[in-house]
């Protein structure tokens, strides 16, 4: 028997727990609990294990191409993309999403992609150095961005 998925993430004195409460052949229902605060139930594709980002007041939970934004006092906001989601960062009140094939700024309130950089090949891990976002590329040389609330702003490679 395989145990249901469960994990706890702690970041900057915030603790968030994910517990699988139901599963079908294709989807997994997960209860997301912010310790001492609210809880949500979200349904994710079962193929991939859930990923989590704690972004100030917002918790982002995703698997494959489906992403949820969870804010205290509000219902979960669901977004489905063409690209698999690799990482989510908060940028100036919006979100910078690193996908498998693109990097884009997403406005969760409007449910709209504000700006997108389309890569030629699959992208990998991403990290920040100062105000610059680095994203691994298939070429081995990372892409660089200086994202804002309105634009991804790719930078020339070094």
């Amino acid at each position: 028997m395989i145990a249901p998925y469960a994990c706890r993430i702690i970041a900057d004195k915030r603790s968030v727990s994910l517990v699988e409460i139901a599963a079908s052949e294709s989807e997994r229902t997960v209860r997301v609990v912010a310790a001492g605060g609210p809880a949500w139930e979200v349904v994710l594709p079962i193929w991939y294990l859930p990923s989590i980002a704690i972004l100030g007041d917002t918790i982002a939970v995703w698997a494959a191409t489906r992403l949820f934004f969870l804010v205290s006092g509000k219902q979960a906001v669901r977004a489905d993309f063409d690209d698999e989601v690799h990482a989510v960062f908060a940028v100036d009140g919006r979100f910078c999403v690193v996908g498998e094939l693109s990097v884009f700024v997403y406005d969760a309130d409007r449910g709209a992609v504000v700006d997108r950089f389309q890569a030629d090949d699959v992208l990998g891990a991403s990290w920040w150095e100062g105000g610059r976002l680095f994203v691994e590329s298939a070429s081995g040389r990372p892409h660089m961005f200086s994202p804002s609330a309105d634009a991804v702003r790719p930078m020339p490679s070094q």
């Binding site: 193929w47 690799h86 997108r116 030629d120 699959v122 081995g140």
Partner: protein
């Protein structure tokens, strides 16, 4: 003379394919998209089609496959070219599954979880774990996936996104999106595949 009728049908096909595609199909999606890459490839394929017409016209009438999502026609029993109603033509001999380039791993390794990354492990859980594919059969299955779904695929610039059912060797199936890039040389390379 039956051959004359077939020749006329072929010319009608070529004329239909040679007409300009809607501008939206070739709009660059981003600064990195290859501008007009698919247009270049389409012209190239039309050229090849014309060159190959002498050996194909005898089989073209019978080669129309109404079960496929596009129009198929080829010499003999094969189906080398698939055309969409928008005019784009896929030459199935130009489809490639890239092997290792900048790492020891190729696309099939990436999709089967052989690359030591979160992304690859997730893919492997699906393509190997759920659908049961291995190194020997995933590539050909994805080629078929593109061929079977080219007629309804989304084309943006030089990128093709095909959505349809992928059946694993054990019979389990799932809806999958395969993503392909038309190269400046006219090849159609697998970029990735995603469960939908």
């Amino acid at each position: 003379m039956p051959w004359l009728r077939h020749l006329a049908v072929l010319f009608a096909f070529v004329a239909a394919f040679a007409r300009p595609a809607p501008a939206s199909a070739f709009t660059p999606a981003s600064p990195e998209s290859r501008v007009g890459g698919f247009e270049v490839a389409a012209q190239l394929l039309v050229g090849e089609l014309a060159a190959a017409s002498c050996e194909q016209h005898q089989g073209i009438g019978a080669a129309y496959d109404e079960n496929a999502s596009g129009y198929r026609f080829a010499a003999g029993g094969g189906a080398r070219f698939i055309a969409r109603t928008g005019g784009e033509i896929l030459d199935v001999t130009r489809i490639r599954i890239p092997g290792p380039r900048n790492s020891p791993f190729g696309k099939v390794d990436y999709l089967l979880g052989n690359v030591g990354s979160v992304e690859s492990v997730g893919k492997g859980g699906f393509f190997r774990g759920v659908l049961g594919f291995g190194e020997g059969n995933l590539g050909p299955a994805l080629e078929r996936h593109l061929i079977e779904n080219f007629g309804t695929a989304t084309i943006e610039g030089s990128r093709i996104r095909a959505v349809g059912t992928l059946v694993g060797p054990g019979g389990r199936s799932a809806t999958v999106q395969s993503v392909w890039q038309v190269t400046p040389e006219g090849f159609v390379d697998l970029i990735t595949a995603v469960p939908r």
